[in-house]
Symmetry: C2
Subunit: 478 residues, 2 copies
Amino acid sequence: MAHEKSIGITVKKADDMPEWYGQVVVKSGLADYAPVKGCMVIRPYGYAIWQRIMDYFNGRMGKLGVENAYFPLFIPESFFKKEAEHAKGFEPEVAWVMNRDESQEKLALRPTSETIMYDSYSRWVRSWRDLPLRINQWCNIIRWEVSDVKLFLRSREFLWQEGHCVYESEKECDRETIMMLDEYEKLCHELLAVPVLKGKKTEKEKFAGAHYTTTIEAFMPDGKALQCGTSHNLGQGFSKAFNISFLGKDGKMQTPWQSSWGFSTRLIGALVMQHSDDKGLVLPPSIAPYQAVIIPIIFEDSREKVLKKAIEIRHKLKDMRVFLDDRDQYTSGWKFNEWELKGVPLRIEIGPKDVEKDQVILVRRDTGKKEPVKIADLNEKAAELLETVQSDLFKKAQKFLKDSIVEVKSWKEFEKTIKSKKIAKALFCGGVDCEDNIKAKTEGANSRCIPFEQKNVKGKCVHCGEEARFWTYFSRSY
Amino acid sequence: MAHEKSIGITVKKADDMPEWYGQVVVKSGLADYAPVKGCMVIRPYGYAIWQRIMDYFNGRMGKLGVENAYFPLFIPESFFKKEAEHAKGFEPEVAWVMNRDESQEKLALRPTSETIMYDSYSRWVRSWRDLPLRINQWCNIIRWEVSDVKLFLRSREFLWQEGHCVYESEKECDRETIMMLDEYEKLCHELLAVPVLKGKKTEKEKFAGAHYTTTIEAFMPDGKALQCGTSHNLGQGFSKAFNISFLGKDGKMQTPWQSSWGFSTRLIGALVMQHSDDKGLVLPPSIAPYQAVIIPIIFEDSREKVLKKAIEIRHKLKDMRVFLDDRDQYTSGWKFNEWELKGVPLRIEIGPKDVEKDQVILVRRDTGKKEPVKIADLNEKAAELLETVQSDLFKKAQKFLKDSIVEVKSWKEFEKTIKSKKIAKALFCGGVDCEDNIKAKTEGANSRCIPFEQKNVKGKCVHCGEEARFWTYFSRSY
């Protein structure tokens, strides 16, 4: 915890977003830079958010018949090579263990677990009775990034969940690939108040080895998209490479269809950038470790009376996640600043005059709006306000996202849109080379997704002039 | 899931415990051997047990002010070397990452996280206001074991929790080191029904770098102890090595005291060995993923009626973790065998005759005892029976532990006790050399712990004849 007022945020979000972001994450106590190059430390306040995400998602997955398991960190080199595109896709960022015994095979630290899991699946799946198989894993992932660490957004080690399913048919695999994407959208909306665009990835951007990849994309205030989760239909490529087959209901051996899907601690980065402001974090009530903080305003002659009432209020709000900050060693003003920095949605102030009036002062973190509330009405009012804050944050972000999308008709408009830090919705040919060229000419704009709903796909590709295949969202990205 | 009746356990626990243990773990679906040397896969049924352990422990820790966090997998070589004994203790089993960039420092895969965490602590701890600092981490741990994998008991990668605390005073550190050991004992008793011996480790067996180590030790039916958790008072050695200091209430800079404590997925191994039998797993109700399984006995002419009643019962037992096994493709007999193998504490059979009598047949997994129960009484009776099973399993294990302890007066008795696979309680000098000699002469007996309660410590060391310092438990061990 910060110990001086001066340890607030010293730059404005609008002026220098990367610097602002780093300060917010570190000073609010979410995470810290590790002494190991490219790595981060997730501090308790950040981990509490991750824990809430895990709990929420485990609850959802339980209902859908997904079970958790744990597979090894180490992946034999030969496993990677079984699926050629997959191996090629991950090769640049794989870290290897130093062999103590030269006769043993080289071992990678998992950059993703398809290969190690499917080797086991090939022994576990025997018959249609074993399907669908739906397994999820929470674990650390290693990708040897070259660039510097960006807390939660880019680091050599991060935490994630990866789901890996096996199905009898293509149809079932299609359906559940989208079902999981919808779960991700729901999580972003309900828990993080982060609106997303949904769609398919282009050929260039799809997962190495997948049949197709679907994605949810959030859009950050600095005009960059942030991929928040992907769900892949893997087709039958991995099944064939790993010899997964099953006895069908028809009595014949068949090759199953597979899917995989994942999101990571990156979600916390999206959450921070989307809502926070120049005073620090702004947390939506659904995900906030504390939804409200009670700060008693202490004067020596009324100390006992005020503290007694503060404790009473603490008990009254037992259905909420509330922290009573009765620490003696800090002033009320210092506490106001600290809890604003930490993004607690509601502040409840109570001083001697409030006690006399049987009231508290309720302050919203997102708007700063203050209002006196009678203690008798506090439970109802605070619960109502938490819902309002949650919904207001989502609406604000959703408006920003909608206002950022520009349907462009020409390459000139496309370039202008990207330059003005918005999302270009353009007709696109889908070509990998064409997309490479777009990226080169626009300093980094790439396709984010091909929305599922496609209307009026008539005309030429916005860049190369070939026949367009679909509308596609383009923007800069994290 | 096993698909044929013949996939039951083929050896008896009393005849060949290692083979029996491997079969129970694999065939019940707890875990599997990984295709990577020395590693295991924790399957959903095993992970569900680990998840229950995590949930229970997180709940307890929340009450004690311990917060979860996450630190990097990678530890720079120089960090290890800061605490000399610690480095020496772990050197033989550390795995290293292959460097892509030769100019960078060598990185270890964490065999434990003291060093990487305390580097951060040195920046986070400034004043007495920051203390006590209590942080816990759930993560994977790498120890490059030479011997073959024993599922849950010995593997190159396993899951654990490690708590790391910083205190102002020795007294506080002492108190909380023991408080955490008591938490471990409570977890073993309440959740796993595994009784343990508590005490200090000898000089030879203490944690590398610790001031002293305390431990809980379970005793397995094959006459070997299993260390189930340790809690270390680290003294000030790490604080000094990592420059952790704080401004005391007296205005002077001080060196804090530290503790660390951990248990791992080994606990699942203890659970399995302690209670299970020749038919497979026996799970205590508190930890069982399913506490009861309902098996409808299906005949074609009464199918609808029986299934309807089974579903009704499922809803009635909503406060329990119940699985209704209504799968068509398996016979009732097959299901009986499978759920016995998987150790579900209660089986609830319901056939057409039971429906007519408004009853079910309740079968205990631990004793095999059957009884008809009126459906109207089922909730109460089943809840009562779960408590009885939990308490009976604990009492049985506790009797075995007590009966296994032999207070020995001579070296001859000591040798005889170890040979008969029991625990020798002996007067001991505490010497490292003496303990080495004991181990060599008895084919592996070592000290398990020095119990906290010491009475009548008068006499000579059971082995070397020097003045005894305390009573100590000795046995073979895992």
